[in-house]
């Protein structure tokens, strides 16, 4: 997989500079623990109580935490004293508590794309415009890395390409971009695929990118030319992220997929079931879990919190979180969009009632309210709010005005006829 290794390059380039900084950094103290049974464990003490320690032990690239009873410990050799109580400071320094971070600290911004609770749909809640606006707020923070934390069940196909362009053409040239997957389904998976480096949460899922629409007899997967366009789009996005296009194809259609992994650990993807590991069997749509994503080297690591993630990305280098305003903006705008959707749906329903009783003045008033919402939450001019209502586009307002005018004319005509 021709993935770029920008993050590792950052880590390497910072390595020398960070040596001095590390001397001052408050981090988990390294320790060598000699057990009563003769075993020796090396790691970092994460937590310590009167009767126990939690030791973070690294095996290969995977870290795990072991609980060790002090009664089973013969001795502990600490490389540095545990400063400031039981719990050492995490990798991210809090300037308020520990003073200014060193200038060499890796600067990391986290931006959330979706958050569940009906605020995660690609299109109205996760879209290129909002993402760019959030990233614009990072300018003064000068992050080295932007982490896109994805939690979305997908959404509108029409937003996939703009999001891809936003990540690839607008954000990547400025920053190293990492996707951190809580849940990336469908259009959200295609969004995450733009990032050369993908990390999963242990509960993470990624895939099921079949496009479909409603219709008589239930939902129908897209077919024909539109499907080909989407398969081609996925190929282009795969190339942007540096992934084999067969992976996303197996997430879109029933593409058999298997892999061989050679002695050097290189993964070779196959469009059939003849590889050593069957990734997607015949007739199925692929969704990766964290284990499979790691097994087939689709993901770079698994992390359940920011500290774990940054330890995987920059190792022991100091890092600092910046750009909280950008994420706050992303959260706030999703919240506003959600409230706007509720309000717009309600106004549409009330407008329907006003129409039933022939109250055209009220209909016009509601139409005015919708215009106000279109200005306040312009995303609903592009996407339909829930309840089967149309987007608040100029075309909608033109047609609605025309409709009200006609209804009013018909009503007046009826009244005239009744009087005769």
């Amino acid at each position: 997989m021709p993935a770029t290794h920008a993050i590792r390059n950052i880590a390497r380039s910072l390595a020398v500079a960070c040596i001095a900084a590390l001397a001052f950094a408050v981090s988990a103290p390294a320790a060598t623990v000699h057990l009563n049974d003769g075993r020796v464990l090396e790691g970092r003490i994460d937590r310590e109580g009167d009767d126990f320690i939690y030791l973070i032990v690294k095996v290969g690239s995977i870290e795990h935490t072991e609980l060790i009873l002090k009664s089973s410990i013969k001795s502990i050799a600490r490389d540095e004293p545990a400063a400031g109580g039981d719990k050492p400071a995490p990798g991210a320094k809090d300037p308020a508590k520990s003073g200014e971070p060193s200038a060499e600290a890796v600067r990391v911004a986290f931006i959330s794309l979706g958050e569940g609770g009906d605020k995660d749909m690609v299109g109205p809640f996760v879209n290129a415009g909002r993402l760019k606006a959030a990233v614009d707020l990072l300018e003064d923070d000068e992050p080295d890395i932007v982490v896109l934390k994805i939690k979305s069940g997908g959404g509108y196909v029409s937003e996939v390409e703009p999001l891809s362009d936003a990540i690839h053409e607008y954000i990547k040239p400025k920053y190293t971009v990492v996707a951190w997957i809580d849940s990336a389904i469908s259009a959200a998976a295609m969004t995450g695929l733009n990032c050369e480096n993908i990390y999963f949460m242990s509960k993470g899922n990624f895939g099921a990118a079949t496009a479909f629409g409603g219709g008589p007899g239930g939902a129908r997967a897209v077919e024909g030319e539109f499907l080909e366009q989407l398969l081609y789009l996925a190929e282009l996005i795969s190339e942007r992220g540096g992934y084999n296009p067969l992976i996303m194809r197996a997430m879109q259609i029933e593409q058999e997929l298997s892999v061989d992994i050679d002695s050097n650990g290189v993964v070779n993807w196959r469009p059939d079931s003849a590889g050593r590991y069957l990734v997607n069997p015949k007739g199925k749509i692929l969704t990766f879990n964290a284990q499979d994503a790691m097994r087939y080297k689709f993901a770079d690591g698994v992390a359940d919190n920011k500290d774990q993630l940054m330890r995987l990305i920059v190792g022991d280098h100091e890092w600092i979180e910046v750009g909280q305003d950008a994420d706050a903006f992303a959260v706030k705008t999703r919240d506003e969009t959600f409230r706007a959707e509720l309000a717009i749906s309600e106004i549409f329903q009330k407008m329907g009632l006003a129409q039933q009783v022939g109250d055209f003045a009220k209909m016009r008033r509601y139409l005015g309210d919708l215009r106000a919402w279109a200005r306040r939450a312009p995303v609903w001019t592009d996407y339909p709010p829930k309840g089967g209502f149309p987007p608040l586009s100029d075309e909608f307002f033109r047609q609605a005005e025309e409709e009200i005018r006609k209804l009013q004319q018909q009503d007046a005509e009826r009244n005239r006829n009744n009087r005769r």
Binding site: K203, I253, S345, K350
Partner: protein, 462 residues
């Protein structure tokens, strides 16, 4: 199927055998000071005492006694932190616990004497009833807050819950509204243990959010094997929906430390799953074993349920079918879903490594859950009553004054109904759609009132 049934019988026979053994019982009067026990401390903090019978490079076989019942169990060495053989026990001898050298001052027979000051604190929360109704995220969060406020060493959640079978696998999404609360507790270092009596339909997913699950002897987990019936559109759309559901469910299992293959076999009839136990650990294969593999210890857990593989009615009724995987206490333990089987809280605390020296924290958790359930039931009844009243309002009105009175009554009733939906929205109206409908009815009523008022004004002008 035959091999599975055979092994089940074997397991039962082993238990019978163990029950008939005259093993030294921890429940008996305190042993003399010169008596010894073997003590095994696991990496997760659990401590087990008993007698080591056999050891190998990868496993140790041990006789342990819980609540007076001796069982022989095999442990994987990779999970073991420390083995202390022939450790003296006696009235004043220390008994190792997970967090400290807590001293036992009581027998572990189930009738406990007074716990010492350093006793482990257990908060027992019982979740019973309908999942997504009696058990919902709001009250669960409150109950768990009460639990953490009392700073227990361990929170034990006893689960006896099911859900309307029509939810099937999609009960997952009800569970997903609650798993973050459990995840957060675990991330904060709180030990959370699920103790499963019944975890079926959506409730089957909740325990998987914790790395520690125990079963009662009659415990059951499953009832989610409905994905093959999923049908909202064409085959490709259905496969997409099934795939993303499995992705979510496997994620919960993986985060809790469980094999995702199990969720697949529990959820989808198409899944072939075979297992063999090596070094105390299960290895899985997503196909039927060959005869050679059967001879090598592979056991078919689930087939595809098609044609002659379909469970017979007799098998289904006797819960021995293999179209989808449902776990009882025995299989849950073999597949390392359950870490052990405990009939009483005393047994469970022993298995958790706290010996018999523990105290139960008197919390409000059970009351919070019970109150919620009671008030929710009342709200449902009130809502029905209001809905009936709504149907009765307005019948036979023939003048403006009556009509206005009726519309006023209708407005009041609708507002009361909306209030109930708002208070219990997480269960009664999670999407907000019902409140939205009521809002429209309120608006409709308001407009009718306005029309009557307008008509009255016009009449007065004339």
């Amino acid at each position: 199927m035959f091999s599975q049934r055979f092994l089940t019988l074997c397991a039962a026979a082993t238990t019978c055998l163990a029950l008939s053994m005259s093993a030294p019982l921890l429940g008996e009067p305190a042993p003399a000071a010169e008596e010894t026990r073997d003590v095994v401390t696991f990496r997760n903090g659990r401590v087990v005492e008993g007698e080591i019978l056999e050891t190998s490079d990868r496993t140790i076989k041990m006789r342990v006694v819980v609540a007076g019942i001796a069982t022989v169990t095999t442990y994987d060495r990779s999970e073991i932190l420390l083995i202390e053989e022939d450790k003296p026990v006696g009235g004043s001898a220390p008994v190792k616990t997970a967090a400290s050298d807590k001293k036992s001052s009581a027998s572990s027979s189930g009738t406990r004497t007074e716990a010492r000051e350093d006793a482990a604190r257990v908060y027992l929360l019982t979740l019973d009833g309908q999942f997504g109704w009696d058990i919902s995220n709001g009250p669960l969060t409150q109950a768990l807050k009460d639990a953490t406020d009392s700073k227990p060493d361990v929170i034990v959640i006893k689960l006896d819950a099911t859900q309307d079978e029509r939810f099937g696998f999609d009960g997952l999404f009800v569970a997903e509204s609650m798993t973050p609360t459990i995840e957060q507790l675990l991330a904060n270092g709180q030990r959370v243990v699920f103790w499963v009596e019944r975890a079926t339909v959506g409730a089957a997913f909740l325990p998987l959010s914790s790395p520690e699950i125990y079963f009662t002897p009659t415990g059951r987990m499953g009832g989610i094997g409905t994905l093959q019936d999923f049908n909202i559109g064409d085959k490709r759309v259905n496969e997409k929906q099934i795939s993303l559901r499995l992705g979510h469910a496997e994620g919960i299992a993986i985060a809790g430390g469980y094999a995702p293959e199990l969720v697949r076999a529990m959820g989808h009839m198409d899944t072939w799953l075979s297992v063999r136990i090596r070094g105390g650990k299960p290895e899985y294969m997503l196909r039927a074993p060959t005869p050679e593999e059967v001879a090598d210890g592979w056991i078919l857990l689930t087939d595809d349920g098609k044609g002659s593989n379909k469970d017979t009615m007799a098998d289904a009724v006797r819960e021995r079918g293999n179209d989808v995987l449902n776990l009882d206490a025995d299989w849950a333990q073999r597949l390392l879903v359950s870490k052990g089987t405990a009939a009483t809280i005393e047994d469970l605390m022993f298995l958790l490594g706290y010996g018999s020296n523990f105290t139960k924290v008197e919390g409000r958790g059970d009351k919070i859950m019970d109150d919620w359930s009671t008030r929710l039931g009342q709200a449902r009844d009130n809502f029905r009553r209001l809905n009936e009243r709504l149907g009765e309002i307005g019948a036979g009105t023939n003048n403006a004054r009556d009509a206005k009175r009726d519309l006023g009554e209708r407005m009041k009733t609708l507002r009361e109904m909306r209030g109930l939906l708002s208070i219990y929205s997480e269960v009664l109206d999670p999407s907000g759609d019902r409140r939205s409908e009521i809002d429209i009815q309120i608006e409709q009523t308001r407009m009718q009132l306005q029309q009557i008022n307008e008509q009255e004004r016009q009449q007065q002008r004339r």
